[in-house]
Symmetry: C2
Subunit: 429 residues, 2 copies
């Protein structure tokens, strides 16, 4: 018999025998009958059973959260919540949940985030928690679809790298074969740039690693990044890709995942392109005039400064034209002012979601920039040589998927949207 | 002006001004005019230009493989290969390729795989090489689409793990924060099993790591695996998923990527389900009878044995019911014979593509199996506790994407289908 999920039960099945499987959410014995709520990933199902069915071998009784399968006939119910129910003909108990459980997955009793993460598999039985990961699943499919439609080719670049690509201070190190020093990639930056030489437009969605000691609600040691890089595009071009991606993604999530969004109390607006663009200099000026904060040219915008900016410019916006020296060596300086660069951050309020820009494509300028930033061009030999093979001008960005999901899911802590987060403290489960 | 790719040039554009960008593949000066073949990721374009356009500043002349942009009018050509051509009005040289180049990306002069991998970005300008990665791109999209249609939810599990999940001999080690020992995941096995507790069906396509010293044409230290795990499915159920996935994937690639397949001389047949299934015992018997090879029950099938099997059973087939002790601790033994297991390998000839089976879902049996296999249950504390929260029966498989791509692309060495392969020798570029 074919298995039916909770959200597939419908009027047309009345009188038919079906099979459902999931976990026991609730048991109410009412004399000669017992009402069981069986929940699966898609929803709850009311089952009417005989009390004897609750007893497994050796007199053990099935407990809440145990895994079961029910075969029975679909009938109308008197319940307000469940218009249809299943009259059980057979109930198979696959495994008994031991009590007490570490957390209550129905969400009636709240638990700390740490307790929930320690029991993450169980935590996911909470429909509000599962909603986050359904949204994440849909977001991944939609992001790829939009990028594929725009001509980007999916690539897989290596995560074990032989040289520290952007300095190396914050890289995890490992010992490779023959005692060679290797690192875990922090981004696919150099590889995706190289690939524009022949593949024109590439994207990758993968896990990256940052050994930074910061412990905040928006940093993780392992995070998922959406990266694009495009030949013959400039910063404006890839900013438009980001805008169109955000608009399509949010519009479609609103249409297709309204139940999940409302479970999470998320009511994010679909933004209209173009998103506001303010230059770094304008941001500095706004902060001085409106908040009396003085920022030296070339200093980064602090968390506090971004918070104030995010309060003035709500939703999505770009901060563009950052000082060249604030940005990595591969960013292209502005033609009209080499102290500024063709760079941007995509913000949502105070939160930086993505960072990108036009890249240098001239080998000798790239080499001098490395020196200026205190890096050794010899360490970038494999990368620099590519720029002598007819490198096209190119631009791209990296978007923090986990951060984007906090915005979509209306949660504060990035750990909420990651199944098994890794941070300075947490390495398990 | 909107950029046009080579494969977008068509009759309807005759007389229109367009812009194309790519690299110079060929230059032929014929007196007062010069023919330039500009290639982009989608194909070649014939450009007719004035000889003076070839000269960049300071008298430098544009070289083959340099990056250029051409603006001009579309006109009919007399060439056999290019029915349309562009009469250049402006030619912008973005960067000059320095000669000699490390390899010839037109493929006219062949190079060793090592030389090609050292110059991978340039190697990708060879249309036959690019074809591999276009097929890989399409395969990724199609695999996900099939799995999503079958109700699998995409997940991202951690690659930095706190305990050595399946023994640990072949894991890369790294030092985590506070000097804790961590490892790079070899598979998402334990996580994907845990996730069936609530998410029912999950899949993940990601990079994994194996520190094994073997240097063969089918092993890599970093590889991409397609993993699925499904609650309430048995081995047969997930084998059917694998079959249907292979059939849909190959059918669609044949339809949509025939040009790439023929560039690679690949003429793979779309298989019909069900694929042949032979048991381990039948395989042992075949090898004894047909080839005089004697294999002790419980011994693995050697490369040589698989080669002989692959010669008898062509194409895709399953080897099922492996001895329990040959398989990892989490594999479910057969109910009718605990020495055998509900396990399978998906083979293509001699090549193992995927491995999977039904898993144990009973905490105490899982614990005893760990002990039997010489592993310490304490090291699996975080994992075992999940099995006391009402674990559903479940099954799944892991499929080596890189190996599958060698079959699809008709190449022998797995390094051919990976952009930047990692093996015992190779850590760069």
């Amino acid at each position: 018999m074919e298995r039916v999920y909770a959200n597939q039960l419908e009027e047309s099945m009345l009188g038919r025998d079906v099979e459902v499987a999931g976990w026991v959410e609730d048991i109410r014995e009412l004399g000669a009958i017992v009402f069981i709520i069986v929940r699966d990933v898609s929803g709850g199902i009311q089952v009417v059973a005989e009390p004897s069915m609750l007893t497994v071998n050796e007199g053990t009784k099935v407990t809440r959260q145990s895994s079961v399968r029910v075969r029975g006939r679909v009938q109308r119910s008197r319940s307000v919540h469940y218009p249809l129910e299943i009259r059980a003909e057979a109930l198979t108990v696959y495994s008994i949940a031991k009590h007490p459980l570490p957390i209550d997955p129905t969400g009636r009793v709240s638990a700390s985030l740490d307790a929930r993460l320690d029991a993450r598999a169980l935590d996911l039985r909470n429909p509000s928690v599962a909603a986050i990961f359904k949204l994440r699943h849909h977001a991944l499919q939609m992001i790829r679809r939009v990028l594929v439609e725009k001509g980007f080719m999916e690539v897989n670049t290596p995560k074990i790298i032989g040289s520290a690509s952007e300095g190396g201070a914050n890289l995890f190190r490992l010992t490779y074969f023959n005692n060679r020093q290797a690192y875990l990639a922090q981004s696919p930056q150099l590889y995706k740039e190289q690939l524009t030489l022949a593949l024109d437009r590439v994207f990758e969605i993968a896990s990256y690693y940052r050994a930074e000691k910061s412990h905040t609600t928006r940093h993780l040691s392992e995070f998922v990044s959406v990266d694009i890089e495009a030949a013959y595009m400039d910063a404006d071009g890839v900013m438009r890709v980001a805008e169109e991606l955000m608009v399509s993604l949010l519009r479609e999530l609103k249409e297709r995942c309204s139940r999940e969004l409302s479970l999470l109390g998320s009511s994010i607006d679909v933004p209209s392109p173009p998103f506001p663009r303010i230059t770094y200099m304008e941001a500095v000026e706004m902060l001085r005039k409106d908040h009396g904060i003085s920022i030296e040219f070339g200093d980064d915008l602090s968390d506090h400064a971004l918070k104030l900016l995010g309060e003035s410019i709500k939703g999505f916006y770009f901060i563009v034209d950052w000082p060249t020296k604030l940005k990595p060596f591969y960013i292209h300086e502005r033609d009209d002012d080499p102290n500024l660069s063709y760079s941007f951050d995509l913000q949502y309020g105070a939160l930086e979601l993505a960072s990108g820009g036009k890249r240098l494509h001239d080998a000798s300028r790239l080499r001098s920039r490395l020196v200026e930033q205190g890096l050794n061009p010899d360490d970038f030999r494999d990368h620099l040589k590519v720029f002598e093979w007819g490198m096209p001008p190119h631009a791209g960005w990296g978007l923090g998927l986990d951060r984007l999901m906090t915005v979509i899911c209306n949660v504060k802590n990035v750990r909420e949207v990651v199944l098994y987060p890794r941070d300075t403290e947490r390495l398990n489960p």
